[in-house]
Symmetry: C2
Subunit: 165 residues, 2 copies
């Protein structure tokens, strides 16, 4: 099989979305998706490890060849950036542990690749993810974002794979 | 042996400092210290995994019972907070992987515990770390900060261990 399996990740501590698609030429197929949740009452370190372990398990099960995450939009909220950074750090480390290169895409690039417009909102992303991957069934917002990043990588991967990360 | 082995971590992507001390009653003994560096030319994900693996190796070798990190001072620089968050995330996840609880201490608390004044500068921390742990020998700034956090945990651990994280 010459299909490339792509793992998209939407890192987060409360909810870490992930989605796997297969890209074979111009054909895109849905493989799997899910959301890793960590109990809020646990210690921060333990929750971060849950995300790390959860993603390691996903990669162990689905054996993706490549991974992609959204480039983080750094706004003025440093506290939120620190929290997101912590979840993002373990997601990236988990991919590296599996020996998978991680590409990063700007939000506007993902929107353009999935919806055709750089200013699309999240609802449109979710709508197009369901259209492009009809066998995915019901997809939560976090997993839709993750599948969106994977779709973007399938579209732009050849260009960005080496340059961006 | 009833000594408690404490691992202090100063998370960072370019340089992640660590230090282990043994605390037995009021007696504090230096055990080991070091700095984990990741090659800047590598991919971010791979570097984060280097930090994770490096800390896992340190914990595997020294088998600390408890760990401590500095509570991150979130200033207005969101980009720096994101970068620090990524390194911090893998450090916390590595400790959780080893089954070690991680305490967090505010910078002022660490300074007060090590130097006796909450407004002490880094030079004073390094000076006192060398005074309190004379067998440590030459200690770089990152490792001195890590040993400082470990000393703080030895001093305040009983109080803060459960409350802070």
């Amino acid at each position: 099989m010459s299909a490339v399996l792509i793992l998209g990740i939407d890192p987060g501590l409360i909810r870490c979305g992930w989605g796997v698609i297969a890209s074979e030429g111009s054909r895109l197929t849905y493989v799997a998706h899910g959301v890793i949740k960590s109990p809020p009452q646990q210690q921060l370190a333990s929750r971060l490890h849950d995300v790390f372990e959860g993603l390691c398990a996903v990669m162990g099960e689905h054996q993706p060849h490549e991974a992609a995450v959204e480039e983080t939009f750094v706004n003025s909220n440093a506290r939120a950036a620190l929290a997101l950074g912590q979840a993002r750090g373990v997601a990236l480390a988990a991919a590296a542990r599996a020996g998978i290169a991680v590409a990063e895409y700007a939000p506007a690039t993902i929107k353009k690749a999935v919806v055709g417009a750089g200013h699309a909102d999240k609802t449109q992303i979710a709508f197009m993810v369901r259209r492009l991957l009809p066998t995915a069934g019901e997809v939560s917002a976090d997993a839709a974002d993750a599948l969106g990043v994977a779709l973007c990588h399938a579209a732009y991967g050849g260009f960005h794979r080496r340059a961006r990360v």
